[in-house]
Symmetry: C2
Subunit: 321 residues, 2 copies
């Protein structure tokens, strides 16, 4: 019955996704508190900050202070996000992050212009330049990324052949430098994907690039996040980004009420209950989700922290017996 | 790629599921306002009240007044829920409801005792008695229902063979009276299902009863509601219960923070975007979801009413072009 992967790899993006979009200023110490708590959950990769223009994303103005303040745990890699050379230089200067490069392009020209002030062609050129620099500096390049792979609030539906072609561009940029990518991430940046389009796009990319591992970065804008993750699992996708408590959302995605990323602990429950290993301690992660709510000061979309885990209900039943 | 049904049938249960669990008293007129708004969405069956003990479910004490006050729309059938003879008599006495009987049993003895003060065996006997009465009164019996088919907060995991056996009991009770059921509903009353267990249970029931149509009644307690609905669609399930805005939850399910039913408008978006027909006008339904939030006076879990529809974004794009 099940063709699901035995095991998946999660990248926790809550601190970066969440704190970049919150309106109120969040004290640096509280951001660090969440990162340190997440370090104790079994998660092995946490994206903790982004190095972007503080005028455009004020919530990340304290990125250096956050990086200086957290307590690294052995076996966990801590990542930052950057979109250009300046961001990369800031990340590198901290000396405390796992510096690995990505080749990231977007399937929507309009979104790229708004998000990064570049056309797709300019973005491709800039990625080639950045890879050149990574290679010169000995920074490994490990993944590709495709933003707005399933649709765009500005451009609407994104043709599948365009996604396949642009994945090809990412693969080419890597191949030019003899880089073998761990995986390419398909991002549903603005919540356009459905389980069916996940299957279509993943299937189309895989037909063209059968040996390329894929990752999914899903937003829960219309409530389909976990359904889309399940469709990905059914296609054998074994890499997922997620955000504790469902933190996040994109500041440049043109719908203010949009929900954030697919919720890490809800995804973990789904995997746990289907026998798909995540390596994550669910109870500890649920505590992190509650901490995240406390930090942002308003309810967050995660369900398990409200509904409770099935493991607890099973344990209560066993205790009664 | 897609084996999804071309079309599904939705039963809207928001007014009944939602108003039975809300703490504050909700004015009868506002309940009627929501029912009347739902009547204009294209939904063809709406469960509007339950006839239960007002001491146990105070939010339904005004069931008769609600039924007396709504404006029926041609082509829409309005249902009430009852659990025993008294409830049935109250529903029938209104003279305004689509009186069709169901054969409902539960897969968890403990839950049945808490919810209806009966064992499974007593419940089976009472259903036989009620069917006898339906037949005598000329009330058609159209569906079966199985509560807690995927797990129970008191009993934990429910063995699949028990579900199959109890579906057999429902089919037998119907056959004894030469009744052909439209479908049997499998209810995830306490949010234990995963997409995989949906596939397992639906698959097991279907192997034994290949000609029996199935329906899913899903709760979103742990965020898996739509993923479970998608798994059902993949199995060809074409009948779903849902609640506008994600209203609801079960007052006797032992976790106060539990989310309600799978959200109708989020399910409709998923179907619309995958080419599965629902017959529902999404924009009108989203307005109903906002109305429901206004009526209960607190945020409800539905996502599309916050994130917006893709159809609107496509239209905005077309208008710019």
């Amino acid at each position: 019955m099940s063709d699901l992967p035995a095991k998946i790899h999660l990248v926790e993006e809550g601190p970066r996704e969440g704190f970049q979009i919150e309106k109120g200023p969040i004290p640096t110490a509280r951001k660090i508190e969440l990162i340190d708590a997440l370090s104790d959950t079994g998660l092995t990769r946490i994206q903790i900050v982004s190095f972007v223009n503080p005028k455009r994303v004020p919530g990340m103005a304290d990125a250096e202070a956050v990086v200086a303040g957290f307590t690294p745990r052995p076996g966990v890699s801590y990542a930052g996000l950057w979109l250009n050379d300046q961001g990369f230089d800031r990340a590198r200067a901290t000396g405390r992050l796992d510096m690995r490069g990505a080749i990231t392009i977007g399937a929507s020209d309009t979104f790229l212009r708004r998000n990064q002030n570049r056309s797709i062609a300019e973005q491709i050129a800039s990625q080639r330049d950045m890879v050149k620099r990574y290679v010169e500096l000995g920074v490994p390049v490990y993944r590709g990324g495709m933003m707005a792979a399933f649709g765009c609030n500005y451009e609407g539906d994104i043709p599948v052949p365009r996604v396949v072609e642009l994945v090809g561009t990412i693969v080419d940029i890597a191949a030019e430098r003899n880089i073998r990518l761990d995986y390419v991430s398909l991002a549903d940046t603005m919540g356009w994907a459905t389980p069916l389009s996940i299957k279509r796009v993943v299937g189309a990319v895989r037909s063209k690039f059968p040996d390329l591992a894929l990752s999914l970065h899903l937003h829960d804008t219309r409530g389909l996040g976990l359904a889309n993750a399940f469709a990905g699992l059914e296609m054998g996708v074994a890499h997922f980004d997620a955000a504790v408590a469902g933190l996040g959302g994109c500041p440049f995605a043109a719908n203010a009420g949009a929900a954030g990323n697919v919720c890490t602990e809800d995804l973990v429950v789904m995997c746990d209950e289907m026998g798909v290993e995540t390596g994550v301690d669910l109870d500890r992660l649920v505590e992190c989700a509650r901490l995240a709510e406390d930090i942002v000061g308003h309810p967050l979309p995660g369900c398990v922290m409200k509904g409770g885990t099935l493991a607890k209900l099973r344990a209560a039943k066993a205790a009664r017996a």
